[in-house]
């Protein structure tokens, strides 16, 4: 009986039925997407705040031009770089974060152009022919354990790097993590042929980072969704030949161009420590760029304003949607009143009619919530349903039921039955 009446009621007021569902869906979708955005911004803001509390010092080598050529020709350059690197990671006064944005060449790459190095600046490079195949130059970052901890990088799927993953073993694929967008390109366990600093090897997909994972580089947020995240590998063995020495040399040069995280030290103290370490390693061409959080401050301020604005907008839209929904529902039930009167003279009760009204509103809400989840997939690229939407739904159901329930108690059957 319930379903029969409900179907007939919807069929009879088809247009109103569709309008109400669309109203609910629009309001809930807006809220759902806003909340998702808020969560993301809030998460980022929290990350900013964490970063604001810390002092970052970028370590940059000064081996350019003639200096670079001269240093490259020095016999013990690799040893000195390795020494310097070990002094950096072993220093107890600060943490050393490795973060090198060195792209990789990937063989027979099947991903979209957005993964290709230069895409952000519309400067995609075509694949190049290397020995036995075509290699595409894709975005990649090499990081160490400190970077993962500092930027709270989380996994969507798979496993995080282990200590042994940072050690290079010849003939063993290097485990990598892929950015979230790579989930449609590769699977966990896939092995991919690459060229990294002329080292021809294989990488093995170990996991995928969560959506919107990011790091901060030179005061800029870098999202890693399109990056291959490579462990900043350490070579324990000495190179067998000059070719392998070249590979290790380039790798270590990248590794020592990292970031010092020193919360307790003043810039001068950091400078003194680095000067001392470079002296011990017989390296003297390093400069330090002090931490400068102005841009983060501005970003933080902008994020706070955006959050406030979105919260206000969401509240206003929810209120507007709730009021307009209540009006639409009341209008619909006013139209149904005569039918309710007919039901009442034929054996129905007020409680039954109330149940029927509640069922109808519940159905609208179910449809709207299902569509909201569907739209989240369309707009966000993944299914998202905030618990706030559920709470809002319950609140709207409660508010929407109040008026028809009051109306049904005041129903004047005899007057309604006389209506044309």
């Amino acid at each position: 009986m319930f379903l029969e009446e409900f179907k007939a009621s919807c069929k009879d007021n088809k247009l109103i039925f569709i309008i109400i569902i669309l109203q609910f869906t629009t309001a809930l979708t807006f809220l759902n997407i806003s909340i998702n955005g808020l969560n993301t911004i809030y998460f980022k803001k929290t990350s900013f705040n964490q970063s604001l509390d810390k002092n970052y010092y970028e370590l940059i080598d000064n081996y350019t031009g003639n200096n670079e050529v001269a240093f490259k020709n020095e016999q013990d350059n690799l040893k000195r770089l390795k020494d310097f690197y070990h002094l950096l990671i072993q220093n107890e006064n600060f943490n050393y974060m490795e973060m090198s944005f060195q792209p990789l060449y990937v063989k027979d790459f099947q991903g979209e152009n957005k993964f290709l190095y230069g895409y952000k600046h519309n400067q995609n490079q075509p694949p190049i022919l290397l020995d036995n195949g075509y290699y595409s130059y894709v975005y990649s970052i090499q990081i160490n354990e400190t970077t993962i901890t500092e930027f709270n990088l989380k996994l969507e799927d798979g496993e995080m790097f282990m200590e042994t993953d940072y050690l290079y073993h010849k003939d063993t694929p290097i485990p990598v993590l892929l950015g979230y967008d790579y989930m449609s390109v590769y699977n966990i366990g896939d092995e991919i042929e690459i060229d990294y600093l002329q080292l021809r090897t294989k990488i093995k997909v170990k996991g995928f980072l969560s959506k919107n994972s990011s790091v901060i580089n030179q005061d800029t947020i870098v999202y890693l969704d399109r990056y291959i995240v490579f462990p900043s590998i350490t070579f324990n063995m000495d190179p067998f030949n000059s070719f392998e020495k070249g590979i290790q040399y380039r790798a270590y040069l990248n590794k020592v161009n990292g970031v010092i995280v020193a919360n307790e030290l003043s810039p001068n103290e950091v400078q003194n420590i680095i000067n001392n370490l470079t002296k011990i390693s017989s390296l003297n061409n390093f400069i330090i760029i002090g931490s400068n959080n102005d841009q983060l401050d501005i970003l933080n301020l902008q994020a706070s304003k955006f959050i406030d604005l979105t919260v206000i907008l969401s509240i206003l839209i929810s209120l507007f949607a709730t009021i307009s929904l209540i009006l639409s529902i009341c209008n619909k039930f006013r139209r149904n009143m005569k039918n309710y009167a007919i039901h009442l003279i034929n054996g129905s009760t007020i409680i039954y009619i109330k149940k029927f009204i509640a069922l109808e509103i519940l159905f609208y809400m179910l449809c709207a919530n299902a569509l909201t989840i569907l739209f989240s997939y369309i707009f966000l690229g993944y299914f998202y349903y905030s618990t706030y939407i559920l709470l809002t739904t319950v609140l709207i159901i409660f508010l929407t039921l109040l008026i028809p329930f009051k109306m049904i108690h005041k129903i004047n059957v005899s007057t309604l039955l006389r209506e044309e």
Binding site: A8, I342, I345, N346, G347, S348, S414, R418
Partner: protein, 222 residues
Amino acid sequence: MLINVMDLYKYYHHGDSITKALDGLSLQVKKGEMLAIMGRSGSGKSTLLNILAGIDYVDKGKYYYDNKKVPLNNQKELSIFRRDKIGFIVQNFALIGYKNTFDNVALPLKYQKYTKKEINSKVMALLKSVSLKDKANKYPHELSGGECQRVAIARALINDPELILADEPTGSLDIKTEEEIMDIFAYLNQELGKTIIIVTHNFDIAKKCTRVIHIHEGKITA
């Protein structure tokens, strides 16, 4: 005595003013009577019928049906009383537009535990008796006024009530159709022994009833 109402008072409030729809009205109706209630517009005749049907409330007074007090303040019991004891017919037929003839007539049965088979046989038998068997799948807008009123009568009879209350049942019909409808009422009263109370302005209809009462300003005057 099937109906015994005593000292019914019913007031309508319009801002500061009060209209006395029923002003201490008392009425007794025997089983098998066919009673016409006449009176001007606003005299209180429809209000009385609505109270007898259990769809309107009284401010004061008592209502006994078959020597049992009608629970005027208990919604659930009142709905059962309406469903089991009363067949209600109004001028505008009160049919649900999105239901066909069959479903409109079957409506009271759907609030009880009847099987589909039972509902089907009861409704079809009744539609046959009011010559609407071939219109079972038609919707109200596809029927004439007389046919709509016959559907409403069939629905009022589906639970086999003892009492049929009709508020201006022929008010929207032409003379020929009015006679057909009144013939049905006469049949129900004389052949099936139903007690019928009809509210009407029409003297020709009143003449066909066994008793006529007049109401004026909420009181029976004749």
